[in-house]
């Protein structure tokens, strides 16, 4: 969702190349010059989204002819409407086409006919803006009989459509992440698929060395004395503790893991495992166990200094007020407790395992 699909990149280039041309035509054209600014903006935006749809046809033609036909219809219709501003039914037709296109995209995403990506979502943002510009009544414009209806439609319909589309895309993206996004907000390191015997041995060695090294920290007071501190609320089921002194320590040193993970149980913190972390954003660490010890990087997370809490960035790339969008350096967990849903190096600990520890 936060990446540009390589096959869709052409849509971005086409939009950027065509935008100045569309602005020029609308500003200079006799038909458009006499229209209100909102209509002119709508025409430019519809022309741009039309070109994006047309540019995607060659890539979809071989694999998905039906979608290519729909793209062709969309592209031609948007370009035609961008030119036909004096047509009596322009406003109604443009609004209908924009709503149909936005809902069509949502249908494609939710029925997994297309994976959401930045080009698709950016095009939707352009279409939302175009829809708003089409609907908004303008002062000094020829009086509109249905003026109050347009205001009501704009003020309620546009936000509703945006919320439905945004949540629809988001739910689908979280429910069915691609293989490299196994956990909400985390991107996995690329590795070979099946571990070799050497990688299996290396993973076992890393696990045994790390598990032995952090035995003393089963008493959280020892961890505290060693410099580990909770980074975030201890009201959550588990909390990461970090040691600032080890931030710049050598990578993947079992004696000096950058973090520890504790379950917050009713009888105090219980050690779940260790966490190794890279110093820089964007670089994955050494991967001795291949697919068994793939690192992961939390991207597009909203971080707030208030209480050191996190949430996830929306599909529209916004965070709650007071939080900023960050990417955490790549990390690798080593779970020393039984983790049935992913094993000792999984991105996450099974919540059921944490709950079971709390019950003991």
């Amino acid at each position: 969702m936060y990446d540009v699909a390589p096959t869709h990149a052409i849509g971005l280039y086409a939009a950027l190349i065509f935008l100045p041309l569309a602005v020029l035509v609308v500003r200079r054209g006799r038909k458009h010059r006499t229209q209100p600014g909102t209509v002119q903006i709508a025409c430019v935006l519809m022309a741009v989204t039309g070109v994006v749809h047309l540019s995607l046809i060659p890539d979809h033609l071989a694999t998905d002819p039906l979608t290519s036909v729909l793209f062709l219809f969309n592209g031609v219709a948007f370009l035609a409407l961008a030119g036909a501003v004096r047509w009596r039914w322009w406003r109604l037709s443009s609004a209908a086409l924009l709503v149909a296109t936005i809902l069509g995209y949502l249908f494609y995403v939710d029925f997994r006919l297309e994976a959401p990506d930045q080009v698709g979502l950016a095009t939707k943002v352009i279409e939302f803006a175009a829809l708003g510009m089409v609907l908004v009544p303008v002062l000094n414009e020829k009086p509109m009989r249905d003026r109050p209806w347009y205001w009501a439609l704009l003020a309620s319909g546009l936000p509703a459509l945006m919320l439905v589309s945004g949540t629809g895309v988001w739910i689908e993206s979280l429910a069915h992440p691609d293989p490299r996004h196994v956990h909400a907000g985390a991107t996995l390191q690329s590795t070979n698929v099946v571990p070799t015997s050497g990688q299996q041995a290396a993973a076992t060695k890393l696990y045994e060395q790390t598990a032995a090294a952090i035995v003393p920290f089963q008493d959280w007071r020892q961890a505290w004395a060693a410099g580990y501190r909770p980074a975030g609320s201890t009201d959550m089921p588990s909390t990461h503790w970090f040691n600032k002194a080890y931030e710049k320590a050598s990578v993947l040193d079992p004696q000096r893991p950058q973090g520890l993970v504790y379950a917050n149980t009713h009888h105090g913190p219980v050690l779940l495992g260790a966490m190794f972390q890279m110093q820089r954003i964007g670089a994955f660490g050494p991967d001795p166990g291949g697919p068994l010890t793939a690192w992961h990087q939390h991207e597009n997370i909203c971080f707030t200094p208030i209480g050191l809490e996190f949430s996830l960035m929306t599909p529209y790339s916004t965070c709650p007020f007071g939080a900023i969008d960050v990417t955490a350096p790549a990390m690798l967990h080593v779970w020393i407790v039984d983790n049935p849903k992913g094993g000792p190096f999984a991105v996450d600990i099974d919540p059921a395992a944490v709950a079971a520890i709390d019950r003991t």
């Binding site: 936060y2 990446d3 540009v4 971005l12 006499t34 229209q35 209100p36 600014g37 909102t38 209509v39 002119q40 930045q118 080009v119 950016a122 943002v125 352009i126 803006a129 708003g132 510009m133 908004v136 303008v138 002062l139 000094n140 414009e141 704009l154 003020a155 546009l158 936000p159 945006m162 919320l163 945004g166 949540t167 609320s233 009201d235 959550m236 089921p237 954003i281 964007g282 991207e299 909203c302 707030t304 208030i306 209480g307 809490e309 949430s311 996830l312 960035m313 929306t314 529209y316 790339s317 916004t318 965070c319 709650p320 007020f321 007071g322 939080a323 900023i324 969008d325 960050v326 990417t327």
Partner: protein
């Protein structure tokens, strides 16, 4: 026809402000599941986000009514958003630099500023409501 184009700028700005408010509203909603997960301060952030979304819609409506204070408030808000988003892009914190982020966090505030700046637009504000409305 210049007059028609000039007077439609506040309405165009309203559309963009309505979109921006919806983006913030969704951001506020996105914080709520984390409150249920134990991140209590996220409730505060969600409340701030909803309040900001409400203020943005209200300011947008007042811009349509050609209120001078609303134009100023929106310009301050959008400059703050624009500077904040550019700062996020410049800092090495791994902020998203995709097209959606650029459109929503940088291009949209910039477009609102462009729509509401300039003498011609400023002169339309502050006129009696009966004339503009």
């Amino acid at each position: 026809m210049k007059g028609v184009n000039a007077t439609s700028r506040p309405e165009a700005a309203f559309v963009l402000l309505l979109m921006q408010a919806t983006f913030w509203f969704l951001a506020g909603i996105s914080a709520l599941p984390f409150v249920l997960g134990g991140e209590v301060y996220m409730l505060l952030l969600a409340a701030f986000s909803f309040a900001l979304a409400g203020f943005t819609v209200w300011s947008g409506m007042e811009v349509v009514w050609r209120r001078t204070w609303a134009r100023r408030a929106v310009l301050v808000l959008e400059w703050t958003c624009l500077i904040g988003s550019l700062l996020m892009l410049a800092l090495p914190i791994g902020a998203n630099r995709g097209p959606v982020s650029l459109l929503v966090n940088s291009v949209l505030p910039f477009a609102v500023i462009l729509l509401l700046r300039g003498k011609a637009v400023r002169n339309q504000f502050g006129t009696p409501r009966s004339v503009t409305g």
